[in-house]
């Protein structure tokens, strides 16, 4: 699916390493399985050539890594940013979370990432190899040999409703400048809004009760870059606890969503990494949708320096009671 190749990125990275523009590169490399791509730091061209990959499983958003990475050295780090990553990048800059000077950002196009769970559902377990050819993904499995599947059919949900193919921040752009897409990403939220309170409760009870409080959603989230998370802070009264029953995990997810409300760029990493496949992004999207409905369209990270809706107000804002009434009309 991806039009830009690993080679192109490797060449570019090598060039920048060699001319000393940067001294290290944030990139992707293959982990234990072909689909198990992990972020990695490269400091020389050889390792880039042997390990660096870019393909349909490189969903990881590197913006967050810059917070700690830029503190390590005053020399620039090279980072490859897909369109959705650039929004997080801008949002983190808005919040002064890293020094822009220490980063060399290359915007790259993205045609949408594949969802391994969808592939597994299609071909079964025992995947030993993956490659992509045009609109097809070739899956090599232990039991059934090579199978060809349509890449679109296994695209991650967040990519299927992609909000923007436009890189909004970069020092250099590779490939073509994309556009902001008129997506229907709120459809799922709307579906839930149309349910009764009881149905919604049942839905979320079903989803959130699976939470194992592994904190992966928080750890991956580019908006969750707190030096010390409230869930790790014994003074906060909501310190991390083993999950117990009906409320604990709900409280965690509500607070988490509220903490990132107005700052979440809807990159969808939370749902990607959730080992329990809980659609956590729907909580964030609900906030985004409400913010759009109540206070006017707002896209976090669209520009550096934008004032987030929760640290802003107008004299005519709607009342909380009206917000609930609107919900009831759905």
């Amino acid at each position: 699916m991806q039009k830009i190749t690993s080679e192109a990125l490797i060449n570019k990275a090598c060039e920048l390493l060699e001319n000393k523009t940067v001294n290290r590169v944030l990139g992707w490399k293959v982990g234990e399985f072909a689909y198990d791509i992990t972020p990695a730091l490269f400091t020389d061209c050889d390792s880039l050539k042997s390990d660096f990959v870019f393909g349909d499983f490189c969903g990881a958003n590197f913006s967050k890594y810059l917070v700690s990475e830029t503190r390590k050295s005053d020399e620039k780090v090279l980072v490859f940013l897909k369109p959705c990553d650039t929004y997080s990048f801008n949002q983190l800059l808005t919040e002064n979370r890293f020094n822009r000077e220490n980063v060399y950002a290359i915007g790259i196009p993205c045609e949408g990432m594949a969802d391994i769970s969808k592939i597994k559902a299609a071909v079964g377990d025992g995947i030993v190899g993956l490659s992509s050819e045009g609109d097809k993904i070739i899956v090599d499995t232990l039991y059934d040999g090579k199978q060809e599947i349509d890449a679109k059919s296994v695209m991650a949900e967040r990519c299927a409703v992609c909000k923007s193919k436009k890189c909004v921040a970069y020092d250099e752009l590779m490939g073509e400048e994309g556009e902001i897409v008129d997506s229907n990403r709120f459809d799922e939220v709307e579906k839930l809004e149309k349910m009764t309170e009881d149905e919604r409760y049942a839905f979320w009870q079903g989803e959130l009760s699976r939470c194992i409080r592994c904190n992966a959603c928080r750890d991956i989230c580019p908006a969750c870059t707190c030096e010390n998370c409230v869930f790790d802070n014994p003074e906060s009264s909501v310190q991390n606890k083993a999950i117990s029953d009906s409320f604990e995990e709900k409280m965690f997810h509500i607070i988490r969503a509220f903490h990132v409300a107005g700052r979440c760029t809807d990159c969808g990493e939370c749902s990607r990494v959730c080992p329990q496949n809980i659609p956590l992004h729907l909580l964030n999207r609900k906030f985004i949708k409400d913010i759009n409905d109540f206070y006017g369209e707002y896209q976090a990270g669209a520009e550096v320096g934008n004032r987030a809706p929760l640290v802003d107000y107008t004299l005519e804002d709607l009342e909380p009671g009206e917000a609930l009434e609107r919900g009831a009309e759905n």
Binding site: V189, K250, L283, K286, F294, D317, L324
Partner: protein, 145 residues
């Protein structure tokens, strides 16, 4: 909350020091009755109320939470209640999205002169919450004794 085998909703009311807490005092001075289920916590401004406090109250068994502050435009700190208004609009909408009955949460602007309104609001809110019955959806059962 069950009291002597009878259901009695527990209401936590956060009141800002300058308007609503004074409004509650005035309700007292006027001897305007409202249910004893309502327990008031004083905060300097409605904008001091962290969503965490509200969730905590529900977690520990509150059946309804109401936030009272100065009328928009009258905030002692000029703009605190405007932030409250945004935060609570979003929080309440989210709680409702998770299936929490919308009648369990409320924001009401009560001035220092509105003792009668304070009492009426509390009566009305308690009644609305009572109709819903016990809060089970947000309660942490470990916190029950």
């Amino acid at each position: 909350m069950q009291v002597n085998g009878e259901y009695k909703p527990l209401i936590v009311a956060f009141c800002c020091n300058w308007c609503s807490y004074a409004g509650a005092d005035l309700a007292g001075t006027n001897r305007s009755n409202y249910p004893d289920n309502v327990k008031i916590i004083k905060v300097p401004c409605s904008c001091r109320v962290n969503p965490m406090f509200i969730l905590r109250a529900f977690q520990r068994g509150a059946d309804g939470v109401i936030l009272c502050g100065c009328h928009p435009g009258d905030c002692h700190y000029t703009s605190g209640n405007y932030y409250t208004r945004r935060r609570m609009a979003l929080l309440f909408s989210m709680l409702n999205f998770l299936g929490i009955e919308k009648e369990r949460t409320r924001v009401e602007w009560v001035s220092a002169a509105e003792g009668a309104k304070f009492a009426a609001t509390m009566n009305e809110f308690t009644e609305a919450v009572a109709k819903l019955g016990e809060n089970k959806r947000l309660e942490d059962l470990r916190c029950k004794r």
